[in-house]
Structure formats: structure tokens, C-alpha cells
Symmetry: C2
Subunit: 80 residues, 2 copies
């Protein structure tokens, strides 16, 4: 089934407490020099073909439901 | 700064209640024919160059900290 990936990440200017926690945990475990930001990944399986209309619909869904656009940015792409 | 992406998704045979909730919400909002699975996306900024050793380290970190490998699968790749 054709698939669309929606990545949702905290905007660069927004604090990311989860990412900070992971970064700290990595450092304590001995993995230094790594800085992590944490977001969400949605794999969207699409019934039928992925048309431009379908993609626009998914972009709209990302904008209204999947991401909180006040604090998050999203990226929609077809998975090859 | 060079960047590595770690995607963590629930394994196919594992129930994904978040994804199910999103799928249901999309349907109620009029977006039908979409089935969603939800996972996590980590953007890892790496100090210095991304060597094979560095990548192996990040893979180890993904295995022990970022993913719960009983129920989740992960993918590590260099972001271009």
C-alpha cells in the first residue's frame, strides 16, 4: 500500500524537554558530543493512489491534527 | 552540524493505540482511507564528523535508550 510519511518536530526556537532529557541520559551513559531533539513520525497508509489531491488532504490533516503548529513544524513526503 | 536521524516505530505485530486514535480522529474529521501508525523521530546532532565508529555508537544508543526493542523497531541513517 502506498505510504506517506509525516514528520513532526518541535520548532527550533521552542524548548524540547524530551530531547533535553534524552541528551542528558546519553551523556550519563557515556555517549558524549550528541545533542538530540525528539519529535513524532507518522506513517500514513493510503487506500488507492497518492494523487496531488490526496497529498493536499494529508497536508491539511498534518496541519490541523498531527502537528501543533504553534510549537511544531511538519514535513509531508511520499515514502518510496 | 552533521546530523543522524533515528526513526523508532512500533513493530508491525504490535498494537499501536496512538496510531489507532489518530486514524479514528482523521476518519471523524472526514479524512477517510488513511491508516496511521505513530512512532518517534530523533534528530541527533553530532559534534565532529560522522565516522563509522560514531554511527555504531548511535546505533547502540538507539538499541539501549531510544527504542524499546521488545515492541519497537528503529532505523538509523545519516541526514543529507
Amino acid at each position: 500500500m502506498p505510504r506517506v510519511i509525516v514528520d513532526v518536530m518541535p520548532k527550533p526556537e521552542i524548548l524540547d524537554p524530551q530531547g533535553k532529557a534524552v541528551t542528558g541520559a546519553l551523556k550519563r551513559l557515556g555517549y558524549s558530543g550528541l545533542s538530540v531533539r525528539q519529535g513524532k513520525r507518522f506513517e500514513v497508509e493510503v487506500e488507492g493512489e497518492i494523487t496531488d489531491e490526496r497529498l493536499a488532504q494529508i497536508r491539511e490533516a498534518a496541519d490541523t491534527l498531527l502537528a501543533n503548529t504553534t510549537i511544531e513544524a511538519y514535513n509531508v513526503r511520499v515514502d518510496k
